[in-house]
Structure formats: structure tokens, C-alpha cells
């Protein structure tokens, strides 16, 4: 199985953003998706860092794609999305609007925020030129298995969410701004203070979700630590690792060692918690009763 680094979902300073990809140039991953997924207002702050990062990564032999925004509504966002198609880099669509702008027959990838739940949708995307699809994180194993098989017949690689806080929802409303008593248009970039999202707890103190501007993620970090063999056996082509602010390069290395059979699931999950500074893990969407469940040992 290959490793794909998904687009950074959070708002980081340009230097930190650039530094991550500098470090990832030597990380044991095959593919990276760059660009702004969550909020168009963030892009100007690090836009100039994207091209250098892209060049560094391509020079290092990595496959690089550019993501579309997850939700396109404003005129400016439509323009951004249209321009993506002209960038000369393969696009990962995370809102179908991007597909509307791609030239007929262009090769593209489909990200986890596009609703691909069944073979019919997969087939339709394949006829449009999709070569790689990262499935929505909420899909259970049975669906993944069916879609991988269908994908193989269509010459389409299927990837699953392997690691990272799970993107659960996208909204027109900015929750970071709301938390600070502001509206989205005057958000003052409140999300910048939370490089891994802001923890949202229940009123009785149970960690639950994570707030990231217009996006809502899980509190727990999904990890396929215990599902690697299963996923490999059914033919999943790649695991997607989603960037976090602490210990991400080490995280990529750990997954590679797990894929190589050098460490087991227990060791991987222990190490993931260690290098991240204590994240909670989950893998329930794939095999559990619900997304928040974890099949490994309790923390």
C-alpha cells in the first residue's frame, strides 16, 4: 500500500506550512495533496508558499496534486476553482464544482469530501476521468471492499482515510468566528490559534469534536493501525494521512514501518499517541459500531 498525505485541513502560518512540506520531501510517502481545502479566506496568507513546496516535492520524486475547496459558494471561490483547472497540476476535487471546470477527459482525483458511496457513482466518476478516489471516511469495511473491487475493474485506485482527525462536516457558517462573537466576513482569522482545531467537549467534560473554522472534525484521530492487513488484502491502494502540527513527519515514518511489517499495530498506536503529544485514537467508521469507537487497547 502507498501513503498519500492529504491537504492540511488547518490554518497555519506560511512558514510552518512551508516547513512541513520541506520535511515531507524526504518522508516515506508517495503522494501529497496541497492547497486549501477548508476556507478560501486562508489561502492568501500562504499562497506564495505553494509553488515552492510543489517544486521541492516534485524534485524529490513525489506525486503532487492540488485540492479544490470543500465548499464553493462565493464568486471569488468559483474563480479560484476554475483557475485550479489551468494550473497544470492534477486536481483532487473535494467539491464537484471543480469537476464542472475541468476540461473534458482530463485526468483527476477525487477526495474524501465527495460523496462516493457506491459503484454507480464510482463508474460515473471513472467515465469523467477519475483515476484515484479517496473514499468518505464514514464508509464501513463492506462498502470499501465492494468499491475497491469495482474500482479495480475500472482502472481506478481506491484510497481510504488512514490517519488524522476525521472531517465530519462543512458549513457556510464559521464556528471559530461565532465562538469569538464575530461573523464569517469579519472573522479576524480566529482559527489560526488552533493548528489542530479547537477541542469541543460535552458539558460533562467528554472530548467529542474539533472545530476548524467552517469545518467540524472528530476529536479523535482516526488510525487504521489495526486494519492495515485487512485493507491491504482487499486491495486498497493507499492510506491517506492527514497533517497535524506535532509529530507528523514521524507519523508518516511510523505508518511506513507498519506497512513494511517492522512494527505491529500496538506499537504503532502507542507511538502515534507519543509523537502527537497524547491524541485519542478511533477507527470505528470502518469496523466499529460508530465512528468514535476504537478497536485497539484503551488509552
Amino acid at each position: 500500500m502507498e501513503l498519500t498525505v492529504g491537504p492540511n485541513q488547518f490554518f497555519w502560518k506560511a512558514e510552518e506550512w512551508g516547513a512541513l512540506y520541506q520535511d515531507l520531501a524526504t518522508a516515506p510517502v508517495e503522494r501529497l495533496v496541497l492547497g486549501e481545502l477548508v476556507c478560501s479566506k486562508r489561502l492568501p496568507f500562504y499562497q506564495n508558499a505553494i509553488l515552492p513546496a510543489l517544486e521541492t516535492l516534485v524534485d524529490a520524486g513525489k506525486e503532487v496534486l492540488l485540492t479544490s475547496l470543500a465548499l464553493v459558494t462565493l464568486k471569488r471561490e468559483r474563480k479560484m476553482t476554475a483557475e485550479l483547472a489551468e494550473a497544470g497540476v492534477e486536481v483532487e476535487i473535494n467539491d464537484l464544482t471543480a469537476l464542472a471546470h475541468l476540461p473534458e477527459g482530463a485526468r483527476f482525483a477525487v477526495g474524501p469530501l465527495v460523496n462516493v458511496y457506491n459503484e454507480g457513482t464510482l463508474a460515473w466518476l471513472a467515465t469523467k476521468g477519475a483515476k484515484r478516489v479517496c473514499l468518505p471516511p464514514e464508509l464501513p469495511l463492506a462498502s470499501v471492499e465492494t468499491l475497491v473491487r469495482a474500482g479495480q475493474e475500472m482502472g481506478l485506485a481506491v484510497e481510504v482515510w488512514g490517519h488524522g482527525r476525521v472531517p465530519l462536516a462543512i458549513s457556510g457558517r464559521c464556528y471559530h468566528a461565532r465562538l469569538h462573537g464575530r461573523i464569517k466576513d469579519n472573522c479576524l482569522f480566529a482559527c489560526e490559534d488552533d493548528p489542530d482545531g479547537l477541542e469541543v467537549d460535552t458539558t460533562d467534560g467528554k472530548p467529542f469534536l474539533s472545530m476548524n473554522g467552517v469545518q467540524t472534525l472528530s476529536d479523535s484521530c482516526a488510525s487504521m493501525a489495526y486494519q492495515i492487513e485487512t485493507l491491504r488484502d482487499i486491495g486498497v491502494s493507499a492510506l491517506r494521512l492527514s497533517p497535524q502540527s506535532v509529530g507528523f513527519v514521524e507519523t508518516c515514518g511510523l505508518y511506513r514501518r507498519r506497512l513494511n511489517g517492522e512494527i505491529d499495530a500496538d506499537t504503532l498506536s502507542d507511538e502515534l499517541v507519543k509523537v502527537s503529544g497524547g491524541m485519542r485514537l478511533s477507527d470505528g467508521f470502518l469496523t466499529g459500531e460508530r465512528g468514535a469507537d476504537w478497536s485497539g487497547k484503551a488509552a
Binding site: T97, A100, W124, S171, G172, I183, M211, G291
Partner: protein, 327 residues
């Protein structure tokens, strides 16, 4: 032209009540996972659907069949059958969200009119026109993330009819793009047609206070005399940083009746009422109000006084994203 009132019906009785109360159009679904209100005791058998459609047609009303969940891999035939059965039953259109299902319906049931469900969250003119070109979609139900001026702008750029929600439950997230429910319960709108399902709700009443949990997560607790909203995840009370509040949305429901004249000016074709899970009495009440309102707007009269808030969740209402400051 009078704006079309599109009204929910969770049961045949609600459908009849809606037709009698003056709904131009009713939307409903089959009693299975193919529709996004797959709630206990709700929805239509095949026979009930055919009877309901005949009842509506005899009185000049239309019926739309919502098949707006995302078909499960390996089980698409259930959704394909729903499309075929809707056509057989005489449906005026089907409301679909899934790309694969749209392609299937366009290919196999070309004469069955296709509407794009709000669950597809098509939020700009480019993607709306794309759905029109690819699948022959004639109408799109707009996601609840757009302001009135944005809706007007969309209508200027597309020939496809637009339908917008004016009353009832309010999704805070872009519809069809939310897995909060399955994260907490394993069941989601996209896969199972339920959000924050009743099967995973626990109400605990203690000394007059009522605590509502979903999948073991406390969504909110209210005092003895406070309104008790259903524990819908995104309307819960949570803590982030120093703040404990309804961080995503207050327990409010949408009421845009006062915006009807603006929505008419914005080129909207149809006004949609949420609530297939509500009673026949609710449905009739809301329809009467909105029918009177669109007639008034059409004749250039002032809107009748609203009396809908009592029917609303938590008895508080919002105009949601239609006003830009909501964001």
C-alpha cells in the same frame, strides 16, 4: 405567478391533510433507507404511494418522491427499484442526490422528471448547471448555506428552477456532507436516512431537569420549565476553550416567511417546508399559512401575520443563512 408550496408528508394522512390545506406539491418517501427521513413509523409503502399520488392528482396537486440517501455499495438495486416504483406510482418527479443514482435515473427513466436534492448541496451556479447538463436535472433544492442575494445571483445564471427551504428544521452544515451523526451513533443521513436517530437518544429526567444524550454524548440539559429541543447533534450545548454554549447553532428552526417577497424577487420557483417527521396537524397548519402568504405576495398584499413560531423547535426561530450575518 404564485410561488409553489412544497410540503412534507411522512404518512398518507399527512399527505391528504396537506393537499386539503392547499399545498401545490407534496414530497414523501418510501418506508426504507432510500429516503432521508427514514424514521420509525413514517413513510409510504408502494401501495400507499400510488394511492397518495392518485389522491393528490385528483385534487390538482403534485407528488415528488424523495430518494435522496446515498445508495449502499453492493445494494444499489434497492434504490434503483425505488426510482422505478416512483415512476410506476405516477410520481411527478424524483428528488435525488447521488451521482450514480442520477446517472441511473437519467439513463433508465428518462421521462421521469429529476430534481436535485438538498442532500447534494449544490451551492453555486456552475455546479447547478453541470447537474442540468449531465443528468437533465430540472430543479435544484438549494442548500441552506446561501444568502438571499446569492440565491438571486444563482437564478440569474441558470435556467434550472430553484426551490428553497422556508420553514422547519435547519441543517447547520452543508447537507449531505455531514457525518456527525454516524460518528456518534453509527447511523448517518447519507447512509441510513437518519440524523441523530431516536434509537440512540436517551432522555434522563432528574429533579425537573432533562438531560438529552445521543450515543452516550450529552447534547444538552435543560431546566424544569425550559423548552426541550430534540438532541440534534449540531444544536447541542458544548464547551470549547472558555465558552460553554450552542457552539454550532442554537436550538432554533427556520422561519423565512417574512422573506417570501424577497425570495420571489430572487427568482425562486418553489418554497419548501421541512418536516416529514411532523404530524398531519402540523403539516396542515404550516401549509395554510404559507399558501396564504404566497397568495398575498402574488397579489401585492401585505403578508398575513405569522403564527408559526409555536410549531417550531424550542419555540425560537431564525432566518438562517438567508441573512448573511448568520455565517
Amino acid at each position: 405567478m404564485v410561488m409553489e408550496i412544497v410540503c412534507p408528508a411522512g404518512t398518507p394522512a399527512a399527505l391528504r391533510a396537506a393537499v386539503k390545506a392547499g399545498a401545490h406539491t407534496i414530497y414523501c418517501g418510501f418506508a426504507d433507507e432510500t429516503n432521508a427521513r427514514n424514521f420509525p413509523g413514517l413513510n409510504f409503502s408502494r401501495a400507499e404511494m400510488a394511492e397518495g399520488i392518485a389522491f393528490a392528482h385528483a385534487r390538482g396537486a403534485k407528488v415528488l418522491v424523495a430518494i435522496n440517501t446515498y445508495p449502499r455499495a453492493g445494494d444499489e438495486s434497492l434504490w434503483h427499484a425505488a426510482v422505478a416504483d416512483a415512476e410506476t406510482a405516477g410520481a411527478d418527479a424524483v428528488i435525488l442526490a447521488d451521482l450514480g443514482l442520477l446517472a441511473y435515473a437519467a439513463g433508465n427513466h428518462p421521462n421521469l422528471r429529476r430534481h436535485l436534492s438538498v442532500q447534494a448541496a449544490a451551492a453555486n451556479a456552475d455546479i447547478i448547471n453541470f447537474y442540468g447538463a449531465e443528468f437533465g436535472v430540472k430543479r435544484v433544492v438549494l442548500p441552506r448555506v446561501l444568502s438571499v442575494p446569492e440565491i438571486a445571483a444563482i437564478n440569474k445564471e441558470t435556467e434550472i428552477e430553484t426551490e428553497v427551504f422556508v420553514f422547519g428544521g435547519l441543517c447547520v452544515m452543508a447537507e449531505g456532507r455531514c457525518s456527525l451523526s454516524s460518528y456518534a451513533t453509527g447511523l448517518s443521513p447519507n447512509m441510513n436516512g437518519v440524523c441523530s436517530p431516536a434509537s440512540h437518544v436517551d432522555y434522563v429526567e432528574d429533579a425537573g431537569a432533562l438531560s438529552a444524550k445521543l450515543g452516550g454524548y450529552t447534547i444538552h440539559a435543560v431546566g424544569a420549565d425550559e423548552p426541550a429541543p430534540y438532541p440534534t447533534l449540531c444544536k447541542g450545548c458544548f464547551t470549547a476553550g472558555e465558552k460553554t454554549a450552542h457552539l454550532f447553532e442554537d436550538p432554533v428552526s427556520l422561519n423565512a416567511e417574512h422573506l417570501i417577497p424577497q425570495l420571489a424577487k430572487a427568482g425562486v420557483t418553489a418554497l419548501k417546508i421541512e418536516g416529514r417527521q411532523r404530524s398531519r396537524s402540523y403539516v396542515a397548519q404550516v401549509v395554510k399559512n404559507f399558501r396564504a402568504a404566497v397568495e398575498a405576495v402574488d397579489q401585492g398584499r401585505a403578508l398575513p401575520e405569522g403564527m408559526l413560531a409555536r410549531l417550531s423547535e424550542g419555540q425560537a426561530v431564525t432566518t438562517g443563512a438567508y441573512k448573511k450575518t448568520w455565517r
